[in-house]
Amino acid sequence: MAQRVLICDDAIFMRTMIADILTGAGYEVVGEAESGLQAVERYKSLLPDIVTMDIVMPDMGGIDAVKAIIATHPDAKILMCSAMGQQALVVEAIQAGARDFVVKPFQPARVLEAVQRVLAG
């Protein structure tokens, strides 16, 4: 069965791009969230195999969303999506329990590699 993905990003553009990359490689996008709060809610209801998480989002940022998800689901597999120059935040996210990160602008091969790595780990 296809691995199930939850995509969290406040931009439709980014969600579409990630969804295209992942569905093209046979993953199933089971849900999307456009804020940190939604990401936490959707995670609990969908229990996806992997989450892609933007850092800058309204309501609740991606790092707080990682903390909230890990607090109840310590095994959650979360891949951070960061922009250039957000290294400090990426470190914080990894410390909060995220497994790996990719940097925007996305390169499909990099995204797929990272997703496979996180799912394997």
Partner: protein, 503 residues
């Protein structure tokens, strides 16, 4: 990246950056009002950050760098602990304007297959885009209204001698004014994409909340409509979408049982039909239960028990205030389907709604939008000394009227028009006119809408005008067929009557 895929991303970028930048303008205003507030700063930061990410993905380096530099500047001031200076806010606003122009230019200049030209295109295009406040445009539009009225007066005088130099000059001016009118109206147009872009995520989100599966398709979002119409279209449209997902689509299990694909299909299409744009919103769900609606209407005493209900009749019932067929109350649609709200919103816009529903196959709502809000070709009719203006859209013909042509059938006045009896309405009664008695010979206007015809009696018809419609403050109880006001060429005001909704 394939060309088709890139084109899709470019369209998404154009729409999303536009929406974000519109939000940023509001946030800038809010920050200027309350410089100590952090929320606007955070929203502006997110906007810049998102635009930077999108632009970098499309290799719009100029946009990405501009957004990045502004973001860095913003963070320094936001986290600097110093009070925000008004002058700096003005600079920030200018930076956002720059970004907006650069975004438009990049997206417009992105000739997917001609990427080589991209580098030169943005700079030249950016210089040619101007952002205009809608209020200024409205002022321009008001001036145009004055000109159209003056032109009609001039034409009236010129008619006395059509070969005079004044008449020729008047004709020349009229032609140029037509062009000017077209151009000004064109400036007010905005693509449907601004609203349509929001539809798929909203529908998918609703479907998830309701445990339904759905695929969404959107077509024709490159058509343009008046900005004022577009701004008010989202709400009724989203209302109809909610209904489609909530009441229209069956659950995946039920659909499987019926041999349908588990995911319901929702389509939103736009196409041009003569002067208007028609939107069609359809679902492939269960269709509206005609018998349930009829039973409810009969129980409420608003429908005869033996009446047959066609789609128009069905819509008329569903649009009655408070009338609802939802058997269960759900979180999404609240109580009932609330079609009355949708219909009255659309009427305020000068739009109309039509319904087609087939049991087990689904429901389609058609929304006819006016593309040219503001100036309508209309007939001037009068009752006593009072003049009224009626859009020509639904006027089929007009007849000289003989009082003895009217017959009474089942207590209603009808006239015979080429073998068909059509009901007669008297404008005097409609408007509760209590002045002097009507003239003996009166003209009748035949209105046609939704396949029905009605003859309307006036005291006199005074010809056609281009009526510049002004919105009307509507005191409570104003009939909904009084849709606006205009100023006639004699300088006197007249109400605009849209009698299609009476038909």
């Amino acid at each position: 990246m394939t060309d088709a895929r890139r084109a899709r991303y470019v369209a998404l970028f154009a729409a999303e950056s536009r929406t974000l930048l519109a939000g940023a303008r509001r946030a800038l205003a809010a920050w200027t009002d309350a410089p100590g507030d952090r929320a606007p700063a955070d929203e502006l930061f997110r906007t810049l950050h998102t635009i930077k990410g999108m632009a970098a993905s499309l290799e719009y380096h100029a946009v990405a760098e501009l957004a990045h530099a502004t973001e860095t500047d913003l963070v320094a001031v936001r986290d600097g602990g110093e009070p925000v200076a008004r002058r700096w806010l003005l600079q920030l606003e200018a930076a956002f304007d720059q970004i907006a122009l650069a975004c438009e230019a990049s997206a417009t200049g992105d000739g997917v297959s001609a990427e080589g030209e991209q580098a030169n295109a943005p700079a030249t295009r950016a210089a040619r885009v101007v952002r205009v406040d809608l209020e200024r445009l409205d002022a321009l539009f008001d001036d145009l209204g004055g000109l159209v009225t003056a032109r009609q007066e001039l034409e009236r005088h010129a008619e006395r001698d059509t070969l005079s130099p004044v008449a020729r000059a008047a004709q020349g001016m009229a032609r140029r004014l037509d062009t000017l009118q077209d151009r000004i109206l064109h400036v007010r147009l905005a693509p449907l994409a601004e609203v349509f872009e929001r539809v798929p995520p909203i529908v998918r989100d609703l479907a998830r909340q309701l445990g339904k599966e759905v695929t969404v398709q959107v077509h024709g979002d490159d058509l343009e409509v008046d900005r004022a119409v577009l701004d008010q279209l989202a709400e009724p449209l989203i209302h109809l979408l909610r209904n489609a997902v909530d009441h229209g689509l069956e659950s995946p299990e039920v659909r499987r049982g019926l041999g349908k694909r588990p995911a319901g299909a929702i389509q939103l299409r736009a196409r041009r039909e003569r002067d208007s744009v028609v939107l069609e919103l359809s679902d492939d769900g269960r269709g509206i239960d005609r018998n349930a609606v009829a039973a409810r209407a009969v129980a409420q005493g608003i429908l005869d028990a033996d009446a047959t209900l066609n789609d128009d009749g069905l819509l008329a019932l569903l649009a009655r205030p408070g009338f609802s067929t939802a058997t269960a109350v759900t979180d999404v649609s609240g109580r009932g389907v609330g079609l009355d709200v949708v219909v009255s919103r659309l009427h305020e816009l000068g739009a109309s709604l039509a319904l087609t529903t087939v049991p087990g196959r689904g429901t389609t709502f058609g929304i006819r939008l006016p593309t040219r809000l503001g100036i309508v070709r209309a007939l001037v009719a009068s009752i006593g000394e009072e003049r009224y203006v009626m859009p020509l859209t639904h006027v089929a013909e007009f007849l000289p009227w003989e009082p003895d042509a009217v017959r009474q059938v089942d207590g209603r006045a009808v006239i015979d028009l080429r073998g068909e009896s059509i009901p007669v309405l008297d404008l005097r009664r409609l408007l509760l006119y209590r002045g002097e008695a009507p003239p003996t010979r009166r003209p009748a206007l035949v209105f046609e809408a939704n396949g029905q015809r009605v003859a309307l009696l006036a005291d006199a018809i005074h010809g056609q005008v281009d009526a510049v419609v002004q919105p009307l403050d509507r005191p409570r109880g104003t009939p909904r067929w009084i849709t606006g006001a205009t100023v006639l060429d004699n300088g006197r005001p007249a109400l605009l009557l849209d009698l299609a909704s009476v038909v």
